[in-house]
């Protein structure tokens, strides 16, 4: 009975298994977010640790493909195919479906389903409202593959609006000082701008050259960010009292020191830890993250009702331990190349655009 054998349920590792190149799906012969060049890749979102150049064929959301093209050039892979969230793509006998992950514009979870086994690869995700991208949708599944960037109970992100309130309060207190906000150039920077607008701030926001392309793309996609000025052309000396957004590494550069008596802020989930803020010379830490915090990781795991949890990267030990105490089967995948504790931001892009 060949047929019966073929349709026997997969063992999980037959459908998806961790390899040094990334998560691999043998029946479809395709990788998810591979860290090395492969023939065929599915990409969850445009951050450089997940979306790399040099693959054969790439399948991703339209926004993610556009972001990759902005960062690596149009020829970042041999072939590209855009997928609409919700649409089912069948490769071999495996169905793939992209579902919003709420991380950055275009970010998606990938639902991998075959022979009645459903695995959700969540990629990077968050649950907090974000005016710049579609909200995370929980998908019930057998196996949920989660990140754990902030997988420790010390990480509880406060509401982002309150953090932006701190920034605006400081701008009011120090009207002669430039407020330089370090924010990852894809996603965080635009989210901070959108939140600043939601808080009613109407002055132009100034940006570093490294943030320009992605910001223009967000605006073209219909995200209202108000009036944005490039810092490059402006005389930095007259930017006292203004808000400047730049990649995190630029806050420590000579570039930042040319502003009048700058206040250094940094928008990141890491800012919850004082030592982290001090290491970076941050005076105004803003706890704003595009990753789920501890409570949201646990809530999501409960919500998707998976029998088994795989943890890709971050503080896997603590999350796996918690799953054990909650009676859930869980294991760390020890995937390398992602986040490097969540602070991956290619220095190259800053160097390219530094002016």
């Amino acid at each position: 009975m060949t047929l019966a054998r073929q349709s026997a349920r997969w063992r999980p590792s037959e459908l998806l298994l961790p390899t040094p190149a990334g998560l691999f799906c043998p029946p479809a012969d395709i990788y998810i977010d591979p860290v090395r060049p492969v023939a065929r890749a599915l990409i969850t979102h445009g951050h450089s640790d997940h979306a790399r150049a040099g693959h054969g064929a790439v399948l991703a959301t339209r926004e993610t493909l556009a972001i990759m093209a902005l960062r690596y050039g149009e020829g970042f892979s041999r072939a590209q195919q855009a997928v609409v969230p919700g649409e089912v793509i069948r490769i071999g006998e495996v169905d793939f479906r992209f579902v919003p992950a709420g991380h950055v514009l275009g970010s998606a979870q990938i639902v991998v389903e075959s022979r009645g086994l459903r695995i959700v690869v969540s990629g990077d995700y968050k649950r907090e409202r974000d005016p710049t991208c579609a909200t995370f949708e929980p998908v019930p599944c057998d196996i949920f593959i989660t990140e754990a960037t902030f997988g420790l109970p010390v990480f509880r992100h406060p509401p982002a609006a309150g953090e932006v309130g701190k920034l605006l309060e400081s701008v009011r207190l120090f009207p002669e000082r430039t407020h330089i906000v370090g924010a990852y150039s894809l996603g965080k920077a635009q989210r901070v701008m959108a939140l600043i607008r939601e808080a009613g701030y109407e002055r132009p926001i100034h940006i570093h050259g490294a943030v320009e392309k992605i910001t223009a793309f967000y605006q073209a996609e219909g995200v209202p960010l108000g009036e944005i000025h490039m810092v490059a052309g402006a005389d930095r000396k007259v930017l006292g009292g203004e808000i400047v957004i730049c990649p995190p590494s630029a806050t420590q550069d000579l570039w930042a020191r040319r502003f009048p008596d700058p206040v250094t802020a940094f928008a990141s989930g890491w800012m919850r830890i004082r030592a982290r803020a001090r290491q970076k010379g941050v005076e105004l830490p803003l706890v704003i993250s595009d990753h789920a915090d501890w409570d949201d990781l646990l809530a999501t795991i409960r919500e998707v009702q998976a029998g088994e949890i795989w943890v890709t990267h971050g503080e896997a030990d603590a999350l796996v331990h918690w799953c054990g105490t909650a009676g859930l089967k869980a294991r760390p995948l020890h995937l390398v190349g992602y986040g490097d504790e969540g602070e991956a931001e290619d220095a190259g892009e800053v160097a390219d655009a530094a002016v």
């Binding site: 420790l152 109970p153 830890i273 030592a275 030990d317 105490t325 504790e341």
Partner: protein
């Protein structure tokens, strides 16, 4: 409590000294008594709560969190107070936010049985920043980059007086320092300095560079050995009732007299001396390793007093009888000191000898071979020379142009990184503490044996590089420690500098380094070319 927490929070993130100062001044100006006095006490280390300890906090959090999650979090954050502040299950609005004086008084008065409930109720009422500040206050280690002196400087500026004036009256005062603030704000006269043995801020030296000698005339200077001990100040005077009070201070003004009764009882004259704390046996200075047996102790046994007799090698006199002579030139103070010590006639206090020299070359020769230049059997405890201008007054802090230290050249050895551990505080989450080893012949062939541990000597950029290297080359994990690849062909070589070497039974290698630090990172050097244990053994002092 919220305002105090806000101050600590701002200070913790403010890197600039002057901005910190402005924050504290502003707080002290705009906050009423007694709140500001308790805040000042917290910043100057003046609040000690006998029953409130880190253990209490650990117990409270243990009742509320999973022990594994707590351990992982603590390892990550690297600071107990902060970990607990972040993990504490919030119950906003549970209670009224407590006031600082109420917290301080309760912490002082509450018994061991009441404290846990009390502290828990405050933690429930406070937000993350408030919890953090409260826990910092309880554990006593603020670690916000504010020294006791900076806090006093802020207080002094309320009254437009020099910080040394505050320092003069300080030891007679108690928190919440109402008298001090009243004086500084011109509402009452200067409080009397009732302390007969107050601390005087010490004078520090600059490291001398080769080029400096060309600008200095040797005839204007005096030189002494720089001893490898602990800098101390000992002050003595009579209380109002005629009894003698003698205090032994560390260089930062911490009173450590209780661990050194053998010294305290010997000073029977009024005055204040500056010198080096050493252990001496049969009039020979012992190694720093030996001295360490007497350090950081709250009590001392008669056995220890017999085995590790403490001495002070005195090099300056600040107060002679009741006369403050800090304004006199060094030469005159030295004469007064000689007379003071000969009157005292105690074997516990001796004079730091002067090194005779006419030219800087002669002094360089003495520094290179202290044993032949008069240090004799004590030469192993010499770590260089002190050079002092004959006309220098005794000034607080590190004034330019008076005193220099000229250390002996550090010794260098190439070692292989073996283990790395996450740092604490500013370096939490970075692998910044390194254990390194050298080669020796073992039973199974060539092997590395650990010879030391260092956590400084590299720049922040180098730390990032090493941290990355550690993460990429981990072969084993033991909690916060990672074993890093170390074999003949692959591994990371450090050029380690150190000041001295001792035999040690506590270390596998039989050796212990003094002040090891990473001098250079030898990315270029294969581990097989690192040094061997024999190289280190040859550097051991001959008398062990």
């Amino acid at each position: 409590m919220n305002r105090f927490a806000w101050l600590l929070d701002r200070l913790a993130y403010e890197p600039r000294r002057n901005a910190k100062l402005a924050l504290i001044v502003d707080y002290l100006r705009s906050t009423p008594d007694p709140d500001r006095g308790y805040a000042l006490a917290a910043m100057t280390g003046g609040l000690v709560f006998r029953n409130a300890k880190a253990g209490l906090i650990r117990a409270l959090i243990a009742e509320r969190t999973d022990p594994v999650l707590f351990a992982l979090s603590y390892d990550y954050v690297g600071d107990l107070s902060e970990t607990v502040a972040l993990m504490w299950p919030a119950r906003h609005g549970a209670n009224a936010v407590p006031h600082l004086p109420e917290v301080v008084q309760s912490l002082r008065e509450a018994g061991k049985t009441d404290l846990p409930r009390l502290v828990a109720s405050w933690l429930d009422a406070l937000d993350e920043t408030g919890r953090w500040a409260l826990l910092k206050l309880i554990t006593g280690a603020l670690r916000i980059g504010v020294s006791s002196r900076l806090a006093k400087t802020a207080a002094a500026s309320l009254g437009g007086v020099a910080v040394d004036e505050v320092e003069q009256v300080w030891h007679g005062l108690e928190p919440p320092y109402a008298e001090l603030f009243a004086w500084l704000e011109g509402k009452s006269p200067r409080p009397e300095a009732r302390d007969p043995a107050p601390f005087r801020p010490v004078m520090l030296s600059h490291a001398i560079e080769d080029g400096d000698f060309d600008k200095l005339d040797p005839a204007e200077f005096s030189a002494e050995w720089k001893w490898d001990g602990i800098r101390v100040q000992v002050a003595s005077g009579l209380r109002a009732d005629g009894s003698r009070l003698t205090r032994l201070y560390s260089r930062t003004g911490e009173d450590i007299a209780v661990a050194f009764p053998d010294l305290v009882e010997e000073l029977t004259q009024d005055g204040a001396l500056d010198g080096e704390l050493l252990v001496m046996r049969e009039s020979a200075v012992q190694s720093f390793n030996t001295l360490q047996q007497r350090l950081n102790r709250k009590t001392v046994t008669p056995k220890m007093l017999g085995e590790f007799p403490a001495h002070i090698r005195v090099y300056d006199l600040l107060v002679d009888g009741d006369e403050d002579i800090r304004h006199l030139p060094f030469e005159e103070r030295r004469e007064r000191l000689e007379a003071f010590l000969s009157r005292l006639a105690s074997v516990r206090f001796d004079l730091s000898p002067v090194i005779p020299f006419q030219t800087w070359e002669e002094l360089a020769a003495a520094r290179a071979d202290p044993a032949a230049a008069g240090a004799g059997a004590d030469a192993e405890a010499v770590e260089g020379c002190m050079i002092k201008r004959l006309d220098s007054p005794y000034l607080a802090g590190r004034p330019k142009g008076y005193w220099w230290k000229w250390k002996r050249d550090a010794r260098l050895v190439d070692c292989v990184l073996m283990y790395a551990q996450r740092g604490h505080g500013k370096r939490s989450s970075f692998y910044s503490d390194y254990t390194f080893g050298v080669w020796r012949s073992g039973e199974g062939g060539e092997e590395l044996v650990p010879v030391g541990k260092a956590y400084f000597g590299f720049t922040d950029e180098e730390l990032l590089e090493i941290d990355k290297y550690v993460r990429k080359n981990t072969v084993n994990r033991f909690g916060p420690v990672r074993e890093v690849t170390h074999d003949a062909g692959s591994g990371l070589v450090f050029e380690v500098a150190f000041e001295g070497l001792q035999r040690s039974t506590r270390h596998k290698s039989g050796l212990a380094m003094r002040f090891p630090r990473i001098n250079r990172i030898r990315w270029d050097k294969p581990p097989r070319e690192a040094d061997r244990i024999e190289t280190l053994e040859a550097m051991l002092p001959t008398n062990g």
